[in-house]
Symmetry: none
Subunit: 205 residues, 4 copies
DNA sequence: GGTTAAGCGAGACGGTACGTCCGGTCTTCCT
DNA sequence: AGGAAGACCGGACGTACCGTCTCGCTTAACC
């Protein structure tokens, strides 16, 4: 059976949680530049070795602390149309990124991915691709439904959507903006939010 | 007169250049994580103090080394239409970001901006805003010309264009892609590829 | 009765012996500086707790491993005269200390005694004083026999004899030397080699 | 010329002295087991690197701190006879070793020499051999003078003298003892301190 | 034959110090 | 006054062991 216990003292769930909480608090308070393994260990009341035993770097601690949240909090339920699905997905994503603490965490993860190539891989698999997969559910459904525009391929849609979101987080520090959601939905789903009748009147003057 | 020399020995141009070259080489060889002031100084045959005297951080050395290039190499000359202007701008930008050495430099700058708030400001003013200003020339010209779509506001266009570019650089490490340029131009300038009536003479990059 | 068994699982003699053997091997291979509780446990195939349960420190493991040997192997049988007794005692002691493995062990014990005061007490009682007691048998017998010089008191004799032995072990790493035994016997038992009248039958070692 | 300065900032004499003082204080207060590089650095107000730059180990700091003292404080001036020279030398040595602070230092050095073979070599050359050389001055003078007993060779005299001294320091912690000095002088120089007339009356009963 | 009690291998835990790296500052002489 | 050299104080790194603490599992004696 797979349920067998390995020998020896089992891992402390309390220590694991204390470490994740301490890391999130510290990155919110001091920024990623001020985040150190020693600081996390001290705040969590834990030996440094306990951190090194389970995570390869401080960024991996943050990754574990933050990865699940995005999955759980951004819905991909069917809203009846591609445009509606996209709008709900974008709105939830942007709302999430608007929590200062979470935005700081995302900045840290992306920064570390630029510095440490090994972490970049784990970040891609454990976070970025998961988010793309979530969006793929929406585009797949739209294709089956028949209301997916055929020119910006789903992969390009993901590049544009996540690119715009990340740019706001990393470069302008203003992730949320309802108007931006409207513009993206309009541009990608060709469905002006309030004017469903004459969509592309302003396309060419 | 402003042209008066301050007393004492003038700044060594040779040292300045050796430092910039050493920094670029090192960031290309070892990545930003392996870039240190001591390493730059050793490679450039320079005292550490000489670096600290003129730059606030290692990232600022890179910023000076790389900032001017983008300005010079991405043209904003009038191509006759908004779509054409955009296509040329995007193509040049993407081509630039496709140099591995330059992409590594951009990754380093964006990473440091997430870690060091003071540098983030200098990076915004010295690089990001300059790129947005370049794009603004194109949208301003399009507005005067009359072929600027009014729904995605110019600022949003910049978010989408640069967001997609940066996302490719930071997250997927595949910045250049002619198809992506096509899709963005189509989506933002409303030039469906199925409309051969338009002036897509410059489509081939 | 004292022979009653306490409840619970009895101490494992196999583990005890494995620990003593592992400690002796490791101290011989890596020196005392490379001897660790974790290393002993790993080599002996034993949990660390099993060592901590029975010995206060790694040095006490060595003490138990090596203490008995000296008692057993250095004879104090009556040789007929103080000089002869002394000669046999010294010869055996020096010969013992000439085993490299045992010398390394003695060095370790004396070193730890300088570092850990509590161990120093156990070392004195469990080793040093036992050796002095063995020598005291010889001096007592000489006093009763009447051939004990009265000026270097027995305690001083012990200081000189063991001092010289330990100095050779600790400082010069050349414990054994037949000529040294001769000199010490001559100096302490007043048997000038130039006086062939005396009973130097046992001179040749 | 040899007096040329190397380039760069010269070594700080203040830091060097602060480190030696801190090490001596700490070893006296906490014993060698409680002496750490970090503790020395903290007490001296010095970076750890400054210690590692100039000394290979904490014991070498103590060696430098203590080595010169013995040379300076134990006189080898001519007292007119071998016995008198020896008595003065022994008295000064024992008096020196009776300073608790210095005795603790000597214990630390000898202990470390048992643990670290590389340090043992430096200790021998930098301390032990120097002390033997000092004693050799006395035996050489005695030989020239003609009052050196010929049987315990000078090397053996050194083994006995320093052996007894070290044994008292390491094993009994009672280095000084005027009676011990008398006994050693008598035994090695065959000159009872107050009874120069009938030297060896009690030699054989 | 089940209960109780302790020893045992294993290994995670909170700590402390290690020896190294680098940051940013300073002190020296030279240009 | 700038610059090369390099020592300085400081702080975090990642590692090695310390001595302690759970775990599940023997291995006995006792009921």
């Amino acid at each position: 059976m797979t349920g067998e216990r390995p020998p020896g003292r089992p891992r402390s769930e309390a220590a694991r949680r204390a470490i994740l909480v301490a890391a999130l608090e510290l990155v919110a308070e001091t920024g990623y530049g001020g985040l150190t393994i020693e600081g996390i260990a001290a705040r969590a009341g834990v030996g440094k070795q306990t951190i090194y035993r389970w995570w390869p770097s401080r960024a991996d601690v943050l990754l574990e602390a933050g990865a699940a949240k995005a999955d759980l909090l951004v819905p991909v339920a069917d809203q009846g149309s591609y445009a509606a699905d996209l709008r709900v997905f974008l709105g939830a994503s942007y709302r999430l990124a608007n929590h200062p603490q979470l935005a700081e965490l995302l900045r840290a993860l992306m920064a570390e991915a630029q510095i440490d190539a090994a972490f970049a891989g784990r970040f891609r698999v454990g976070f970025l691709e998961r988010r793309r997969d979530a969006l793929a559910i929406i585009t797949d459904r739209a294709r089956q439904r028949g209301d997916l525009p055929d020119r910006p391929a789903p992969g390009t849609v993901a590049d544009i959507v996540f690119g715009t979101l990340w740019y706001r987080i990393l470069a302008t520090h203003q992730p949320l903006d309802p108007q931006l959601v409207n513009d993206l939905v309009e541009v990608l789903a060709s469905t002006p939010p309030a004017t469903p009748a004459g969509p592309p009147a302003e396309r060419r003057s």
